[in-house]
Each structure stands twice: as C-alpha cells, then as structure tokens.
C-alpha cells in the first residue's frame, strides 16, 4: 500500500513538474523601450552645484508614447536643463534625449516624489524645458530650476587653482495653464496677489491670514497656491 502511494505521488509530481516548469528563460524586459542619449561631458568645476541633487537618486522616466522605465539612477542638471542617467552596464553617465521624454520623477531620500514635465516654453529663450510640478491642477504651479555660471570674486578651489566663476541658483516660478500659457510668479505675497482681481485679493489675504501662511520661501508659495486652488478663487490670469 505504501509503495502504491509512493508511485502515485511520484507520478503526479512528475505531471506537475512537466506542466509547470516547461519555461525557457527569456530576459525580463527584453522588449522594453531603449533609452537614447549622448555621453555626458563633465561640466567645468567651480563652486556651487550644477545639479539639483548631490548624487544620483532613484527615479523613473516616461517616454512621449507613455511607456515608463523605473528604477533608474537619475540626476537632473540645473545647469544645462538635462536629465542624466547612470547606465551601470556600461558605466556611463548618459544625457537622455529631451525630445524623447514626456517627463521624469525623482525619488529623494526624504521620500518625496519630485515630478518634472517636459513642456514647451514660449517666453524668453523659447524651447522645451523640464519644469518641476510643484502643484498640479487647472492652473499648475511650476518651477524652472536653473543654475547659471556667473563671475564672482576670485577664490582658490580645493586643488589651489585660482577661479573667478561659480554656479548660482536662479529658480523661476510660473503659473501654467495649457490654454493661457505661462505667467511668472515670484516668492512674495505681493506677486501672488497681483494674479487676482481686487475683490479676490481680499479673499486671498483673508485665506492666508486665517491659515497663518507667510510666503517667504518656496514651501510657503506652494502651500498658499494649494489653498487657493482648493478654495477655487479665480485668478486674473
């Protein structure tokens, strides 16, 4: 009896094995979209940071056709408005072709998702730019994070070389609507109020006062804009 049971078990085990394990290994993501780009040539070394983050951070990119690639090591260059990824297979830092991207996400250590969108900017120096989406909606609050190389007082770098330039942050903020375009906004209460009619300005002031929001920095501006969007206060933009 014990022998019979053993044979039956073996028979079924064999049946199961043939039906469930007859799979040949084909690499995962074998047909995934390939990233196209060009080799990063290191930027000139000056004080300041030409990148948004100190190091490569985890992130994902989205192509214009909607396909996404996750788990990439990304770094956004605020100096050249480029997104760079580290290809570990060939140990290369590659500037992803901006034209191929719809946008990208950076996952910072703090656990925040920073979303960037590739949009056409029709103002001064028109062209496609990566805008960080600070608050999305009918009228989105966007930031164009850029760093400019400017002359400064002479200094010696770590290697003792005399330098007279540095990377300086120059962040610009915009209100954006797909039909109306871009409207520049600065950090400060007055700049925000100027986007509303007189009657609505009072409402905004009251809203900010009641919620104890002061627009002294970027987070204050974001908080204020979120609140305005929630309360649906119409802008003059």
């Amino acid at each position: 009896m014990a022998n019979n049971t053993f044979y039956i078990i073996t028979l079924f085990a064999l049946l199961a094995a043939t039906s469930l394990t007859a799979q040949e290994a084909v690499p995962k993501n074998w047909d995934s979209e390939k990233i196209k780009g060009s080799q990063l040539i290191p930027y000139p070394s000056y004080t300041g940071n030409p990148y948004l983050t100190e190091k490569f951070v985890s992130g994902e990119i989205e192509f214009t056709d909607g396909t996404k690639i996750e788990n990439l090591f990304l770094r956004y260059s605020t100096y050249r408005d480029e997104i760079i990824y580290f290809n570990s297979a060939i140990s290369a830092q590659i500037i992803i072709d901006k034209i191929s991207l719809k946008g990208f996400k950076l996952f910072t250590k703090e656990g925040a998702n920073r979303i960037f969108r590739n949009q056409y900017y029709n103002g001064f120096l028109p062209g496609n730019r990566f805008f960080e989406v600070l608050n999305d909606g009918d009228i989105a609050l966007l930031a164009y994070r850029t760093v400019v190389l400017q002359y400064c007082s002479v200094y010696n770098n770590e290697a003792g070389v005399l330098k007279n330039m540095e990377y300086q942050q120059n962040f610009n903020y915009y209100l954006y609507n797909s039909k109306k375009g871009y409207e520049t906004i600065r950090i400060g209460k007055n700049s925000l109020l100027s986007k509303f009619d007189k009657s609505n300005q009072k409402l905004v002031k009251k809203l900010l006062r009641n919620n104890k929001i002061a627009i002294r920095d970027e987070s204050g501006l974001i908080e204020a804009w979120k609140l305005i969007q929630i309360n649906r206060i119409p802008t003059n933009f």
């Binding site: 079924f12 196209k36 060009s38 080799q39």
Partner: protein
C-alpha cells in the same frame, strides 16, 4: 489521511498546469467551396481569456504543407481578414488554422479549393478531416429572422431583419457577424479544434509579431553567447533595435504595430569582435505545430457540379476585373520624432555641390569632422568629437539607409549621384547599452536594403506583418451589361448587436441556395449562430 491530502494536492497542481486553456478560437469563412484565384473572407472570435493581440492564420494543404499565411490584429476578442487563394493551388481539401504562441488548442476550418484551370480531379475521393472535435456552437431559437422570402429573382433587392432576444442581447460579448453567401449543396466544411504544443518561452504577441532566431559560432556551430544582434527596418526614418544573446544564443524582437509588407535586416557580431558568427531565423511555422488527421471520403456529385459553375463564374469575374475585396489603407506606424541615432549635428546633401566620384572625396570635401581614408585598400573612418575637439579612438556607427555597415567597402564607391543625404552626429551616442563613437548615416535615393549584401551574419527578409483591414467589394449599382457574379452578397464582420438588425443587400446573377448567417459570442465564451436559407432563381 496525510497521504490522501498530498495526492489531492498534487492532482490539483498537475491539473492546474494543464487546464489553463479550455476555450478555442471560433473561425468562420464566407463559404466552404472555393476556386483558386479567389479571396477567402474569414471571421474569428478569440477566447476571452487569450492575452494575444495578434493571431496567425495559415492555409495548409491536407498533406501538411503551409501554402500561405496572414496575421490579424485581435480587437475586442475578434478579428477578420482575407486570404488570397493562389492560382497555382491544386484541387483538394485545405485547412485554415489559427495559432498564437501560447495556444494549447488550435482551431482549424476545412475548405475545398478547385484549381481554376485544371478543374476537379476525375476521382470522386477526397481527403477530409476525421477524428477531430468539432467546435461547439449553439443555434439561437428565440431570435427570428423576418422579411426574408424563400425565393428571390436575380439582382432583386433583399431586406431582412434579425431580432435578437433580450437575454441574448444582454449576454452577447462584443459585436456580431453577419454574412450572406452561396451554399455548396452536399458539402460542409467544418470547424474543429485540435491540440497543439505552445512555445516554451512563454512570450505572448500582445501588440506585434515576435521574430525569433539563433546566433551560432560559424566554426563550431554552437550557440553563441554575448553576440549583439541588430534589427533594422530601412527607410527614411529607419527603425532599429538590438538584442544581446544569452547562453542559448537565441534572440527575440518584437515588431510593434507594423502593417503590410516590411523589409527587415538582421545582423549580428561578436561583442569582443574575435569570432565569426552565423545568424538564422527560427521558422515561425515550426512554432505552430497542430495538424489534424485526414481520412478519405467521397466528394458529393452535386458539389462537383457546383464547382464547375463556380470556376466559370470566377473566370468571368477575372475577365471583367471585378475585385472581390477592398483593402483599406493600413495605419502607418507612428514615426519616431527623430532618428534612433539622435538629432544630427550636420546634414549634407552632396547633390548641392560639385559631382564627386566616391565617398572618400565626399568625406574630404563635404563632411565636417568625418575622416574617411583608404590605406593599403583597407578603408577606415573616424569622426571628430565636437565637445572634446578630438577624433574618437573607436570607429563610428556607419549606417546605409538605416542599416549598420561593418564593411566600409560597401560605401567606398558611393559618389554624389548615389547619395541623397549624409547625417553626422559628432558626439558619443547611446542606444540602450550600445555606445557609438559618433554616427555617419548615409541615405541613398532608393532608401532600401538593396545596397547591403547578404552574408552569414546578415539576413535580409520581407515580413508580412499584420494584415490591413479588408472589406467586401459590393458595388451599389451593377451595369446591366456587366455580369454580377458575386457569391458573397453581404459580409459584415463587426456589427453592433441590437434588438433589430436590418440588412439590405442585392442578389447577384448566380442562381442557387444562399444562407444568411448571424454569429456571435456570449460573455461566457460560447459561440452562437442563427441562419436561414433562401433561393435565387
């Protein structure tokens, strides 16, 4: 007790592995009897749980030889298409077979084709499918067809209505299919399901054909690991992809959403550039193995007479150049916004300059940052890095009509007249894990693969991709002097189900018994039909 539990558990696991596919395709044709040179129309209902986005339909002789095949796109679990029956087909039974890479069950439809020139064979015996399971379908009794008379005159207008019962309407999945075509007295080609062996790689053709092949060492014939296989689709905006082989030397490419005939070039090279390789494609037919058993049977005498009439009708239609189907324009694949090798730094049209005899002269006179030289009859090419202001140590990617070129002798003799334009990228480019030290893309006026020779490591092929949509050519008015020899009076592959479906069509000049058929599929996967015959005399 424990042993019993294990037995039951193992039985469950083994059954789970085998019982993944119970449903099969429903495959229907406009008729059962054909004449070579005609076009067969087909409708297909896919299993609701099938993940495949495309289905292969093959026309196979009763001897097992594949004559032709088409690939159809499955939309909402349905597909329809047309198969041209070559004039060279000999008279006999043929099968149409559906297959996907993952099917364990395939559907075959039996048809008879008579050769237009040789006619029917003298013998009455014919090979027919035997011992196969017919595809189950249910006739819907509670869905009457009204307005359809028993007899019509030739060219008379016919109006009929099909009334779908509420319960049927509620459980119908997707669209229904309606056709009116001539029947073959005494001959019914059936639809059967047969078992097949699915491919073992578990790849599903969701949105395009999968090309599969293997790279071997030219000397040892062993599968070659770490070879770079490149696929190019030549053209003005060339398509490109690559695959790096594993231990088994196999490679796969997916051709997404391509319609009609497309030229494809496949080539491979050793990553270390030390070994000579051979590339070969896996015959896609070998991936679709199912074939039913045939047995000898007698061909009905009435059907023989019918075939003789059909041959005459088809010949006259050919003389009057009456097209059976109209092929709708295929959706063009969305062209990439820019070439895969990047936005060129420079684009040069040699025809705008003085006529230069060869590429050496062209590079020297017209191409900034490109150094093409021939030393001891060996051509070399170098590209300048615009940012480093130095020539790259590695040779650039050289493309001829979008096809990567390893042997520079191919472009050596190209003069101004043979080149439309040259695009140059003076930077290190990356495509996935491939790196190119600059790019020189040459475009010839032909923009095809004709300038690139085939070799052991390069194969050129034309692929019949997804078939473009076809519709029945039913002229609204036929000239009185011109015979109307249509055997298919109506072919509506996708009709939105409604309580009352009204049909309008016109009888042709061909006398005989016709059948109006409605077919559909319910949400539980079962096939249903409703049919009614009428006579044209």
């Amino acid at each position: 007790m424990k042993t019993k539990f294990f037995i039951v558990l193992l039985l469950f696991i083994s059954l789970l592995g085998n019982a993944q596919q119970k449903e099969n395709f429903g495959l229907y044709t406009d008729r059962d009897l054909y004449v070579s040179g005609e076009t067969l129309l087909l409708k297909l209902f896919a299993p609701l749980n099938d993940q495949a986005g495309i289905v292969h339909i093959d026309l196979i002789s009763c001897g097992g030889k594949t004559i032709t095949g088409i690939i159809l796109e499955i939309t909402d679990h349905q597909a329809n298409g047309a198969v041209y029956l070559p004039d060279s087909l000999s008279s006999g039974s043929y099968i149409l077979r559906t297959s996907t890479r993952s099917d364990k069950l395939q559907t075959v439809r039996e048809i008879y084709v008579a050769n237009r020139f040789a006619g029917m064979p003298e013998s009455n015996s014919v090979s027919r499918i035997g011992r196969a399971t017919p595809v189950a379908e249910t006739e819907m009794g509670n869905s009457p067809i009204t307005g359809l008379e028993e007899h019509y005159k030739r060219r008379e207008k016919v109006t009929a209505s099909i009334h779908l019962a509420d319960d049927l309407l509620a459980k119908t999945e997707g669209n229904v299919h309606v056709s009116v075509s001539k029947t073959a007295p005494g001959y019914n080609g059936g639809t059967f399901c047969i078992s097949a062996k699915p491919t073992t790689d578990q790849l599903i053709e969701k949105d395009g054909i999968i090309l599969e092949g293997v790279v071997t060492d030219l000397k040892t014939a062993a599968p070659f690991k770490n070879s770079v296989v490149m696929l190019s689709i030549p053209g003005t905006t060339p398509g490109f992809n690559y695959y790096i082989t594993g231990d088994d030397g196999r490679f796969f490419f997916k051709l997404k959403k391509y319609y009609g005939k497309i030229p494809v070039v496949l080539q491979c090279y050793d990553k270390a550039r030390t070994r000579l390789l051979k590339i070969s494609l896996v015959d896609s037919e070998s991936l679709r193995s199912g074939f039913p058993a045939f047995e000898t049977s007698t061909f009905p005498t009435e059907a023989r007479k019918e075939v003789a009439k059909n041959i005459e009708a088809v010949t006259i239609r050919k003389i009057f150049n009456q097209q059976e189907i109209i092929t709708l324009p295929a959706p063009k694949p969305q062209a990439d916004a820019y070439p895969f090798y990047g936005i060129p730094t420079n684009t040069v049209d040699p025809k705008l300059f003085i006529d230069l005899p060869d590429f050496n002269e062209i590079s020297h006179e017209l191409l900034p940052g490109v150094k093409f030289r021939t030393y001891n009859r060996i051509p070399t090419i170098e590209v300048l890095s615009a940012s480093l202001h130095n020539y790259f140590n590695e040779p650039p990617l050289v493309l001829l009509d979008g096809i990567p070129i390893q042997d520079l002798n191919i472009i050596k003799n190209l003069g101004s007249k043979k080149i439309d334009k040259v695009e140059i990228c003076l930077e290190e480019r990356h495509f996935g894990d491939l790196s190119f030290a600059g790019v020189v893309a040459i475009f010839s006026p032909k923009a095809d693969d004709s300038l690139v020779p085939e070799s052991k490591d390069l194969i050129k092929l034309t692929i019949e991709a997804i078939q473009a949509q076809t519709v029945l050519n039913s002229p609204s008015e036929q000239l009185p002097s011109e015979p109307d020899l249509r055997q298919v009076l109506l072919w509506t592959p996708s009709l939105k189900p409604a309580q009352t479906i009204t049909l309008n069509f016109r009888a042709s000049d061909i006398k005989g018994v016709y059948k109006l058929v409605l077919r559909g599929k319910t949400k539980d996967g079962s096939l249903f039909f409703k049919e009614q015959s009428f006579e044209v005399n």
